[in-house]
Structure formats: structure tokens, C-alpha cells
């Protein structure tokens, strides 16, 4: 049964009101530091745009917008110039970096500057840069100060990168998704976990720890995920961020031009078409191979995608779907590559149906996704494996439906998981427990809602 609420329309939280409130709190009330938490697909970049245009275009402020990756800054620039009239924009980036071709050709995009001395000295300004670049230039006097610093994708930025920038600005707004993958730190962090300042943590997370009364706004809806999906992911991945779907049932309907052949896979696809946006196909757990690469499971994943495409899917009211509209997520590169080979052997072009890790899927979306359960095939679940952000990213890329593939033994592994009680630093939060809980809650929910579908070894 699809988990759609008939009360969505009447009880839909007003996402627009949150945007208005955010702009008012920042610009009129002058809130010095505001944290905006956003579920996936909630329109955080639209909020960033609106705030930037309000600040610079209306209030005449000098503002900077930073994001962790260059691609994110380019995405913001594309949106701002497409959606709004001329703004005093500037792009600060390394001289060694090239703009993508579409931005190079676009006259509305300012030519990047690599040094602050080339920026306009006075007057309203919307400066766009990566966090690293702004940090690098922040000691240069010519950079000056800002009235407002907006940080997009704030949960992908470490506190060590944000903290030095706070001296440059009177006000700061952080916008981010708390359910995503944690920031990448390449060294053991034990010493830093017990330090007075957790500089390796995501910036909003550390600020919330230090400032329990940190002003916060929460975007209340997702415009990407169906309500059925929200019902599954809310509790395990966003326990402190209640949200619902702004997608009406009719707007996220999948239809197949070709009838199913009554195989288990086709029945799972039919469930998705009926509105059950997340379905899990499970191969038997006994005699499952040890290790990350599971050939049989890769076959299942490839078959799911191949069957999806073979049945000529249509996004009702929008468009027919093809290989470009499908994606596959696998937490392990080697395992993903195995599936990619099997997709190619079935004629599915993997330059269109991309097979990527969750780290790369972050920020992207597809109408239909297939994912390999990150715990499938593991006998022992480490803190790394249990990291909930990974699975959260995998389960929040789809707009219509997502098929999870895995081994039945996942449930057993979760139930029998032996917690390591000595690994976490003294006094630190138990992220292994938090991750285990998230996975366990989600698995139980899938089980209770009859979304766990067993495949025999001959599932055709």
C-alpha cells in the first residue's frame, strides 16, 4: 500500500512562508547567524537565490555566497542569471579553473576574477565563490568585509573552513541538508572528537553543539520525493526535521506502456507504478558470497533497470522516460562497476544510466533509481558502513520510484549486530549506534509495509 496521506493538501506546511520568514529574519530583523535546515529537494538553492537577490538587489547589501564545490557555484550562477534581472555579480575562482562551456558562452555570467583586488570595491555586490577560494583570499585586505555571507550546502563544509570566514561578515546564513554524507576528513579524528571545538565537523552541526539556541528555520517540504518515500526516510534520517511532500500524487505517477510478465521484478515495478515509491528486492541470504562484489545481486540490479526500460516507462503528464532518466547508486566502486558491466551486456548505455557512488549522486536527481543496499554482503557492520548519510543520499535521488536490491541477510545482520563499545572516543557521540538505529528503523518499516520482496535464485 502506498504511504500517501490524503490530508496532504489541507495540511501542507507553507514552504513559501518559511522563505519569507527567512528573508525577513535576515534582512529586516538582522539575525546575525541563521541555520536553515532542508530536506532533499526542498528548494534550498532557490532560497539561496531569493535571499541573495533580496539582499543585493533590494537591500543594496554586499553579500557573498559560498559552496563547497565549484560545480555548485556554477549551478547557482546559472539559476540566478536565468531567473532574475541583472545583479552586480562577481565570480571569484582560481585562475587555473575553467568555466564550463555554457557559462563561458553566456554573456550574463561575469568573467571570473582570481584576485580580490579586481573586485568592485564599493557598492552592492553578489560575490560567488567556493569556500576554499574565499578562505584562501580572506587574509587579503582588498577582499573587504561583507554584510551577509550565505553558505549553500553547509553540511558539506567543515567548521574549520567556515569559522575563519565569520570575521568577514556581519551576518551569516547556513543552508544545508542534515541527512547527507558527513564531511570528508582524511585523517583519524580521535583527537579532534575530544577537543573543545570540533573543527572537523560539518559547520552547522558544530554550531548547533556550541549554540543550543542557534536560530533555525526548517524548510517543511520536499518538491522531489513522493510522500510515500518521506514516510520511510523521515524518522531514520531526519528525526529532528519534520517535513512532508509537496508533490501531489497525480504529479508523480509512473506508467508502463508494456505490461509486466508477472515475474517478481515486474511485480515490484508495478508496485512502484501503483505509488509504492520504495521497494526492496532481496535475494536469499544463505550461501551469499562474502565480500563487496556480489555477481548475482549485480545481475538483479541490471535486470531491474533493463526491465524498467524495456517496459517503456512514462512519467504521466510529463514525458516518456529513457536511459537518461535512470540512475544506479552503489556505495562501493568495484561493486558498481560489476553492475555497470552487466548493464552494458543488456544494452543499457551506462553513459546515460550512470552508475555512481552516493558521494557523486549528492545534488543530483533522476525519475527512477535503483540502489544496492549499502549493508548487503557485509558480515560485520562497521561505523563507516552504518553511516546513515550514505543510504539517505541513495534513497532521496528519485522522483518517482526507487528499487533497493540486497540480500535477505541484511535484516539478520542488523538484528545481530555487535556494537563496538571501545572505538568511539571518550565522551563522543556514538555515531555507530545512530547509524545502526537509522538502518534498523528503516528496515523494520520496509518490512512492516510489505516492501521487502523475496526473489528466489531463479527470479526470471
Amino acid at each position: 500500500m502506498a504511504m500517501s496521506s490524503s490530508t496532504i493538501v489541507s495540511t501542507l506546511p507553507d514552504a513559501g512562508a518559511v522563505s519569507v520568514r527567512t528573508v525577513e529574519r535576515v534582512l529586516r530583523e538582522g539575525c546575525p547567524l541563521l541555520n536553515v535546515e532542508s530536506p532533499p529537494g526542498a528548494g534550498k538553492t532557490a532560497l539561496v537565490e531569493a535571499l541573495l537577490v533580496s539582499a543585493v538587489g533590494v537591500a543594496g547589501l554586499r553579500a557573498a555566497v559560498i559552496a563547497p564545490h565549484a560545480e555548485q557555484t556554477y549551478g547557482l550562477l546559472r539559476r540566478v542569471v536565468s531567473h532574475y534581472g541583472p545583479l552586480p555579480l562577481a565570480l571569484l575562482q582560481s585562475a587555473q579553473r575553467e568555466l564550463p562551456p555554457d557559462l563561458l558562452d553566456d554573456q550574463r555570467i561575469p568573467r571570473p576574477v582570481s584576485e580580490p583586488r579586481r573586485l568592485p570595491g564599493v557598492g552592492p555586490l553578489a560575490l560567488v565563490a567556493t569556500a576554499d577560494k574565499l578562505l584562501f583570499e580572506s587574509a587579503v585586505p582588498e577582499l573587504g568585509k561583507f554584510d551577509l555571507l550565505i553558505c549553500d550546502e553547509a553540511y558539506q563544509l567543515t567548521y574549520s573552513k567556515l569559522a575563519p570566514l565569520l570575521r568577514l561578515t556581519k551576518q551569516t546564513v547556513l543552508v544545508g541538508d542534515p541527512g547527507q554524507l558527513p564531511t570528508l576528513v582524511t585523517i583519524p579524528v580521535h583527537r579532534f572528537e575530544t577537543a573543545p571545538h570540533r573543527v572537523h565537523w560539518a559547520a552547522p552541526r558544530e554550531l548547533k553543539r556550541c549554540l543550543p539556541d542557534l536560530p533555525t528555520e526548517r524548510l517543511p517540504v520536499t518538491r522531489r520525493l513522493p510522500q510515500d518515500t518521506v514516510a520511510f526516510i523521515q524518522q531514520p534520517f531526519y528525526p529532528n526535521l519534520p517535513f512532508s511532500s509537496a508533490v501531489y500524487g497525480e504529479d508523480c505517477r509512473l506508467q508502463f506502456a508494456v505490461r509486466g510478465n508477472n515475474s517478481v521484478i515486474d511485480r515490484a515495478l508495478d508496485l512502484i507504478a501503483a505509488g509504492c515509491s520504495i521497494v526492496c528486492l532481496l535475494l536469499p541470504g544463505e550461501n551469499a558470497p562474502a565480500g563487496i562484489v556480489d555477481y548475482e545481486l549485480s545481475e538483479v540490479a541490471a535486470e531491474v533497470i533493463a526491465r524498467f526500460l524495456a517496459r517503456q516507462p512514462i512519467w504521466q503528464g510529463r514525458m516518456p522516460l529513457d536511459a537518461n532518466h535512470v540512475g544506479y547508486a552503489d556505495a562501493h566502486v568495484a561493486s558498481g562497476e560489476q553492475t555497470a558491466q552487466m548493464l552494458r551486456s543488456r544494452g543499457v548505455p551506462t553513459d546515460k544510466t550512470q552508475v555512481l557512488t552516493p558521494e557523486i549522486w549528492q545534488g543530483l536527481e533522476r525519475p527512477f533509481m535503483a540502489v544496492k543496499h549499502p549493508l548487503s554482503g557485509l558480515n560485520r557492520l562497521s561505523t563507516f558502513d552504518l553511516e546513515p548519510g550514505r543510504f539517505c543520499v541513495m534513497l532521496t535521488r528519485h522522483q518517482l520510484g526507487c528499487v533497493i536490491v540486497g540480500r535477505e541477510s541484511i535484516g539478520e545482520r542488523l538484528a545481530q549486530h555487535q556494537h563496538t563499545c571501545g572505538e568511539r572516543p571518550f565522551g563522543a557521540e556514538n555515531s555507530e549506534w545512530a547509524g545502526w538505529q537509522a538502518h534498523y528503523v528503516l528496515w523494520e518499516r520496509l518490512r512492516e509495509e510489505a516492501r521487502l520482496i523475496k526473489l528466489s535464485n531463479t527470479y526470471y
Binding site: 562474502a290 555477481y295 572516543p425 556514538n430
Partner: protein, 357 residues
């Protein structure tokens, strides 16, 4: 190393699939005697706590508890907003010394009375701010209990309930004590936190009792205490719950219920399943004995090898796959054989596999 109380449960929780260890804990066997009875050999390794370590532990605890727990009051008071000089302390070890009969039960009764007062809405100073050696228990059958004794319990104003505490003389350096010691202590505290929760549940205190503990360890300087650290112990409590389930199951299966059944445990030891794993080395006298039992399987190379190759996979089978003298039964086995040979080449020992496959 003791197998009683919280320590015994902590041991089971580290390896709940080892029925042999669980039976040893239930039967409260002497580990060395057990080893010698089982193996018919003298135990050659080192066993038990060093004199100096035990002395330090006693000294540390004494320094915290002397003068009406003056030092413990001093370090805990700021955390809870108390005036250390006005904290009311009860020491159940003083009230009911160890030499008395039914010590655990009697101390537990007193603990229940304190908790009943708390449930009745009493707060300090009507109930103690600080309890030294409170007694708690965990049920292992309808009529049997494992008694656990936190080193202290302190009343928290915010929840109007007690939080258990552990004192250990291990040294905190760069923010952390030794990992193995920390794990053991956390598990013990988990047993105590669970016992407190069960007592609280009996008295409808539910939400007021949380799965946490306060740890007082030592600084590097003599026996000066490090500042207390509070931790949530959800994982540890979960592990202890599982340990209790195994305790009950093995107890029923073997019909062993306590110390009086120690000989029965010894008699049936050979029939009991083991679960050899890395943590056995630092916790169990039978490590090498059990290692012998699994010496021809992948698990002898460690937990990670067990995960990669499968715990019951025989080493000879893996060599035969790599040699090609045995056919791979699946695509994965075929890939495994290839990878084993590749590693042999990488490490310069390709002569070890004849590569017939």
C-alpha cells in the same frame, strides 16, 4: 578476571555467540581451573590483575570515598549545581559491610527504598544526593538475579532521578583512556544502567531513567581524578540485553543456573559451541585452546579474514582454489581464486600456487 556481576555480563556481551563463555559466566567457574580441566594441561600464560594495578584501583576508589566522599562530591557537584559541602551521601558498603550475610540482597532492598522515595516525589536532601556502592540487579530467570554494583549513583535535578557512575583508576591521556579498558568499563556501566532502568520501570519512573553513566577516571597525575565524563550508553545497554537473553537461553539449555553448577559446565564444556574472534585474545584464558579448534579455517587469521573468506571456509580449500586443484563453484569463488593468485604474484610468492586453473 572476575566472571561475576556486571563483568560477567560484559564478557558475554562481547561474544554472545560463544556458548562456552556464557556457560563459564553462569557457572562462575574459575577460569584457570576450567582451562586445566578442559585441556588437561597447565595454564602457562599470565592471568589476573597485577598487584600494583589492584592496589592503585583500591587507592583511587578510597581517595574518592574517604571523608564522606569529599573528593567525589567536589568533582560531581559543579555538574549538577550542588554545593559539595551540603551533599547528602549514603554509603551502602558502610551500611551493610561485605562480611554480612545476603549482602547484595540487603543492599538492594535499601536501594529500592531510596528509589521508592524518588518515585514518591522526594528529592535531596530527603533522598541522598550521592549513593556509594548502590546495589542493583538484573533478572536472569524468574527467580534468579545477577547483582550489579555501580561505584556510585548521583541524583540529577533535571530528571529527578539517579545516574549510575563508574570509577576506574585508568589514566586519561590526550582525552582518552586505553581502548580495551574503556570498552570493558562501558559494557559494565551498560549493565548497571540497564539494571537502574528496570528498577525505575518497576516504580513507573520510565522516562526519568536514561541509558547513561558518568565515568570518573584518573588524570596522569598520581590518582587525581580526571573531570567526570557523561556518556549515553544505548549501544552498551542493547549489548547487555542480548547478553541476558543468551544467559537465559544457555542456562535453560544446559540446566545450569549458578555457581553450584560449575562442575556441570566443566563436564559439558566439550559439547559447547564456541565463537572464536579477535576480542577473545584479551579477555579469555581459552584463546589458544579455541584457536586450535579452528586452526584449519579462515577465522584463525582474524575477524576480517573471516568476513572476507567466510568463517568456516577451510584454509586448504582456499589454497586449492588458488592452485586450481579445486573448481570454483560460483562466479564469486572463481573471482576469489583469481584474486588469491594475483596477491601471490603481487607479494612475490607465486610459486606457492601452482596455477593449474
Amino acid at each position: 578476571m572476575s566472571l561475576s556481576g556486571a563483568r560477567g555480563l560484559a564478557r558475554i556481551s562481547q561474544n554472545p555467540r560463544c556458548d562456552l563463555q556464557t556457560a563459564m559466566v553462569i557457572g562462575q567457574v574459575d577460569e584457570i581451573e576450567f582451562y586445566e580441566a578442559l585441556t588437561k594441561r597447565q595454564f602457562e600464560g599470565e592471568y589476573g590483575e597485577r598487584i600494583s594495578a589492584r592496589r592503585r584501583g583500591n587507592k583511587f576508589e578510597a581517595s574518592l570515598h574517604q571523608n564522606n566522599a569529599a573528593e567525589l562530591r567536589r568533582i560531581l557537584a559543579p555538574r549538577f549545581g550542588y554545593d559539595p559541602e551540603r551533599m547528602y551521601v549514603r554509603n551502602l558498603a558502610d551500611e551493610i559491610p561485605d562480611y554480612m550475610t545476603e549482602v547484595h540482597r540487603n543492599r538492594y532492598v535499601r536501594m529500592m527504598r531510596v528509589f521508592a522515595d524518588v518515585a514518591g516525589g522526594y528529592e535531596p536532601p530527603s533522598v541522598p544526593h550521592l549513593l556509594i556502592e548502590p546495589q542493583l540487579r538484573l533478572p536472569v530467570s524468574d527467580s534468579r538475579f545477577v547483582y550489579v554494583a555501580p561505584d556510585f549513583a548521583v541524583f540529577e535535578p533535571a530528571t529527578k532521578c539517579y545516574v549510575v557512575g563508574e570509577e576506574k583508576s585508568m589514566i586519561v591521556r590526550a582525552g582518552s583512556p586505553d581502548r580495551v579498558d574503556l570498552e570493558r568499563t562501558r559494557r559494565q556501566a551498560g549493565a548497571e544502567a540497564l539494571a537502574l532502568r528496570l528498577l525505575g520501570d518497576q516504580l513507573n519512573l520510565f522516562e526519568r531513567v536514561r541509558d547513561r553513566a558518568i565515568f570518573v577516571f584518573s588524570s596522569p597525575f598520581d590518582i587525581t581524578p580526571h573531570q567526570p565524563v557523561e556518556e549515553y550508553l544505548h549501544a552498551e545497554v542493547s549489548e547487555i540485553r542480548r547478553a541476558l537473553e543468551r544467559y537465559r537461553a544457555v542456562s535453560e539449555e544446559l540446566q545450569v543456573y549458578g555457581k553450584e553448577d560449575g562442575k556441570k559446565v566443566v563436564a559439558r564444556a566439550h559439547q559447547l559451541g564456541i565463537n572464536f574472534q579477535n576480542s577473545c585474545l584479551s579477555s579469555c584464558a581459552l584463546f589458544y585452546n579455541c584457536k586450535d579448534r579452528v586452526s584449519n579455517t579462515a577465522v584463525v587469521l582474524g575477524d576480517e579474514a573471516k568476513d572476507a573468506f567466510g568463517g568456516t571456509t577451510e584454509l586448504e580449500h582456499l589454497y586449492a582454489l588458488a592452485d586450481g586443484t579445486v573448481e570454483a563453484k560460483s562466479a564469486e569463488e572463481g573471482a576469489l581464486a583469481v584474486r588469491l593468485r594475483e596477491t601471490a604474484i603481487l607479494l612475490g610468492v607465486e610459486d606457492l600456487c601452482s596455477g593449474k586453473g
